[in-house]
C-alpha cells in the first residue's frame, strides 16, 4: 500500500462511521455521496463503456480519485451489464444495447407476478421464483428445461461471481491506492418495494392495496427473512459499511398515510431492526419526497441510519424532524451541479454548514447522488467549500467502530439463510460420508445459500 494510504483510509472510514453515529467529528465528509454518477463518466467514457468494460470503469474511478484527491468516499461500481445479458434480464434498458450509448440505464415497469400468485409466493418462495417469476424476468430462462435455459443459469452464475470479483478489485483499488472507503456494501429493498417494483408493478400493486390487502401484508412479511438474509450475505463481513437501501414507494404521494402505515412501514421497520440488531448500519435513499412519512425514522435507535434526502424534500425540515435520530445526506439540488455556478455551490455549502450541518449529522450531497452532467468546476467548488466551511474541531479524531457479532443462527431468529436442497437430503442420498462431514456440509450449504440469493438478485 502506498505511503499513508492505509491511515488515510482508516481516518476517512472512522469519520464516516462517526458521522452516521451522530458523534462529534473533526469535519464534514467531502463528497460523501453514495452514488456519484459524475465520477463514472468524468474520465470521458460513455455510459455503455462504463457498464460493459470493467477496466474502463476502474480507470475512470482512478482518474477521478487522482483529480479530486480530497473526496472521502467513492462507490466502486454498480452493475456489470454482461451479467444482465447473460440471463436476458428484462427489468432494465441498457446504454448501448437498448438505449443510445450515452443514456442512463433505466428501470422497466412491468407486471412480473400475477394477482393470483400471492399464495405461491407466500407459501413456497422457491417454486414461485423458479416456476413463475424467473421465467418472466430472465428472457434466457423463458423456455424452462431447454438447453438455452440451462446455459442461462450457468452463465448467470459465472457472471455473478465474476462481477463480485471485479467489484472487489475496484473497491480494493480505491482503498489501497487512494485510501478511499466505500459508501455502502450489500443492498436490500423494502419488502413492499420488492413486491411493488420487481413483482407486481405499479399498476398491479396499487390495485392489490384495494382488492387483496391481506395478501399484500402477508407477502411483505413472508419476504422479510429472505431479503434480510440475502442483504447480509452481500454486506461487508467486517460491518464497516452501511447496507444500501433505495426506497421507492414510501415517497409521497404514492400511498396514503394509512396505507404507508399498514403496508410499507411495518415490514421495513422489522427488516431494518433485524439488520441493526445484527450490528449493521443502513444507508437509505429516501427517493422523491418523504416529508409526510419521514417521522417514522425516529422509531429506530439513534445513530444507526443514514438517510439521503432527495431534491423534492427540504433538508432543513428533515434535520428538524428526524435529525436527532438519523444522519442526513443531501441539501444541494441536482440542478445546481448541472446548470448552476461555482458561486452558487459555494453559497449553498456555506449556508448548509452554518445551519443544517452546524452540529454534525449531515453529509453534503445532491439528491441521492451527484448527477452525471455535473460541471467539473461545480464539483471542485463543492469540495473546496466543504473543506472551508465544514470544519468542526481540531482536537477530535474519530475512531473506527467495532461492531457487535451477528447473533448465532443468523440475523433472522428462526429463519436461517435458505437452502433449496438441505444437506440432510444430500447426505441421506449418499448414505452418509466417510470422512469429515462438517467439511463437506459447510461448502454444500454455502453454495446453496448463495444460489438462493442469486434468485433474489433479480428482484430489481
Amino acid at each position: 500500500m502506498p505511503d499513508g494510504k492505509e491511515q488515510l483510509f482508516e481516518e476517512r472510514l472512522a469519520r464516516y462511521q462517526a458521522t452516521i453515529a451522530l458523534e462529534p467529528t473533526d469535519r464534514m465528509l467531502v463528497a460523501g455521496s453514495g452514488s456519484n454518477y459524475f465520477a463514472e463518466i468524468y474520465a470521458g467514457y460513455s455510459r455503455q463503456e462504463i457498464m460493459y468494460d470493467m477496466n474502463k470503469w476502474m480507470a475512470a474511478e482512478s482518474r477521478f480519485a487522482e483529480d479530486f484527491p480530497e473526496i472521502d468516499l467513492l462507490r466502486a461500481g454498480r452493475i456489470w451489464a454482461p451479467l444482465f445479458d447473460s440471463v436476458g434480464f428484462r427489468l432494465y434498458k441498457l446504454p448501448g444495447r437498448d438505449l443510445a450509448p450515452d443514456t442512463d440505464f433505466q428501470f422497466v415497469e412491468g407486471e412480473w407476478m400475477k394477482a393470483d400468485e400471492y399464495d405461491i409466493l407466500i407459501n413456497d418462495p422457491v417454486d414461485f421464483m423458479m416456476n413463475y417469476r424467473l421465467p418472466r424476468v430472465l428472457g434466457e430462462f423463458k423456455e424452462k428445461g431447454s438447453v438455452r435455459s440451462y446455459m442461462a443459469f450457468l452463465k448467470g452464475g459465472m457472471a455473478f461471481v465474476l462481477m463480485g470479483q471485479l467489484m472487489r478489485e475496484k473497491a480494493l483499488n480505491l482503498e489501497k491506492k487512494y485510501g478511499i472507503p466505500q459508501p455502502f456494501q450489500g443492498a436490500m429493498l423494502a419488502p413492499f418495494d420488492a413486491l411493488a417494483d420487481g413483482y407486481r408493478g405499479l399498476q398491479g400493486i396499487m390495485v392489490d392495496l384495494f382488492e387483496r390487502p391481506d395478501k399484500v401484508i402477508k407477502a411483505c412479511d413472508a419476504l422479510i427473512p429472505d431479503l434480510v438474509n440475502c442483504a447480509v450475505a452481500t454486506a461487508d463481513p467486517l460491518k464497516r459499511y452501511p447496507i444500501f437501501m433505495p426506497l421507492h414507494r414510501g415517497n409521497h404521494p404514492f400511498l396514503s398515510p394509512r396505507q404507508f402505515n399498514t403496508f410499507y412501514w411495518p415490514p421495513l421497520y422489522k427488516a431494518i431492526t433485524l439488520l441493526i440488531e445484527s450490528g449493521y448500519t443502513v444507508r437509505a435513499y429516501l427517493e422523491g419526497d418523504w416529508t409526510p412519512n419521514w417521522h417514522y425514522w425516529n422509531e429506530f435507535p439513534k445513530g444507526k441510519i443514514l438517510c439521503d434526502v432527495d431534491n423534492k424534500a427540504d433538508i432543513a425540515k428533515a434535520k428538524q424532524e428526524i435529525g436527532s435520530t438519523v444522519c442526513l445526506a443531501g441539501g444541494i439540488p441536482d440542478r445546481m451541479f448541472i446548470i448552476g455556478t461555482p458561486e452558487e455551490i459555494r453559497a449553498r455549502v456555506k449556508e448548509l454548514c452554518e445551519t443544517v450541518g452546524r452540529e454534525g449529522g449531515l453529509i453534503l450531497n445532491g439528491g441521492c447522488a451527484i448527477p452525471y452532467s455535473t460541471k467539473p468546476e461545480n464539483f471542485r467548488a463543492f469540495i473546496d467549500a466543504t473543506l472551508k466551511y465544514g470544519h468542526y474541531s481540531s482536537t477530535i479524531t474519530p475512531k473506527l467502530k467495532k461492531p457487535p457479532a451477528t447473533p448465532s443462527g443468523g440475523p433472522v431468529p428462526g429463519h436461517p439463510p435458505r437452502v433449496i436442497t438441505p444437506w440432510e437430503t444430500r447426505s441421506g442420498e449418499l448414505g452418509g460420508v466417510l470422512g469429515d462431514e462438517k467439511m463437506v456440509r459447510e461448502v454444500w450449504e454455502m453454495l446453496e445459500r448463495r444460489a438462493f440469493c442469486w434468485m433474489h438478485f433479480w428482484d430489481w
Partner: protein, 211 residues
C-alpha cells in the same frame, strides 16, 4: 338522475363492485350510456380534486383509473371515444428523449383529461422533432414535457429550441415537470411554466386556455 349521482359517488368512494352493478342497472333501465359515462366522468373530476387537495393519493388515483377501465369495457369503448371527441382544448404531452419513465406523465394525462382537455400523449423517450410535428398536426397551444432523470434538463432545452427553430415557439406554451425540475430549471430551459406536481398541470392548462 338520483341513481346517477349515486353512481358518481360510488366511483368517488372507489367501490368497484357497486359501480359495476349500478352500471348494469342503469343499462337495464335504458339510461343513455352517454349519461352513465358523464356521471362517471364527474366522479373522476372529484377524484382529481381530492388528489389535488391531498385527500387522495396516487394509489387512489390509479385504482380509480382501474375501475373506470372496467366500467368502460362494459359500456362500450365507443362512448369513451364520443367523450374524447367532445373534449375541449388540446395538450400535447410526452417524456423527453433519453428518459423512459411515465408515471408522472400518466398522472398529469389522467388529471388533465378528467378536467375536460383532449390529451395527445406521445409516450416516453420522445425526440424533439416528434413534439414539433404533433403540435403542428393538432394545433395544440400547450405542450407538457415530463421527466424523472436529470439528463432530461438539457433535452427539455433542446425541445424548446426545436420549437423556436420550427417557428412555432410563440404559438405554444411549454410546461415542464418532473423530479429534477424547479423554477431555475424552467428559466434555463426557456419553458413558460413549471408544474411542481400533477394537479399543477391542470391549473396551468386552464390558465393557458383562459378557463
Amino acid at each position: 338522475m338520483a341513481a346517477l349521482t349515486d353512481l358518481t359517488q360510488a366511483l368517488v368512494d372507489l367501490k368497484k363492485e357497486e359501480v359495476l352493478s349500478m352500471i348494469e342497472e342503469e343499462l337495464k333501465k335504458n339510461t343513455a350510456p352517454l349519461d352513465v359515462v358523464k356521471a362517471l366522468n364527474e366522479g373522476m373530476v372529484t377524484i382529481g380534486e381530492r388528489f389535488a387537495s391531498c385527500e387522495y393519493f396516487i394509489s387512489e388515483l390509479i385504482y380509480s383509473g382501474h375501475i373506470m377501465k372496467e366500467a368502460m369495457t362494459r359500456l362500450d369503448m365507443l362512448f369513451e371515444q364520443a367523450l374524447a371527441a367532445d373534449a375541449g382544448e388540446k395538450l400535447v404531452i410526452g417524456t423527453v428523449q433519453g428518459d423512459i419513465h411515465d408515471i408522472g406523465k400518466n398522472l398529469v394525462t389522467m388529471l388533465v383529461k378528467n378536467a375536460g382537455f383532449s390529451v395527445i400523449d406521445l409516450g416516453v423517450d420522445v425526440p424533439a422533432g416528434r413534439f414539433v410535428e404533433s403540435l403542428k398536426e393538432t394545433g395544440a397551444r400547450a405542450l407538457a414535457l415530463s421527466c424523472l432523470l436529470n439528463i432530461a434538463i438539457p433535452e427539455m432545452k433542446n425541445v424548446v429550441d426545436a420549437l423556436r427553430a420550427a417557428g412555432i415557439r410563440d404559438k405554444v406554451k411549454v410546461i415542464i415537470g418532473g423530479q429534477p425540475i424547479d423554477e431555475k430549471v424552467c428559466e434555463y430551459v426557456g419553458a413558460d411554466y413549471y408544474g411542481a406536481d400533477a394537479p399543477a398541470g391542470v391549473r396551468i392548462c386552464k390558465q393557458i386556455y383562459g378557463q
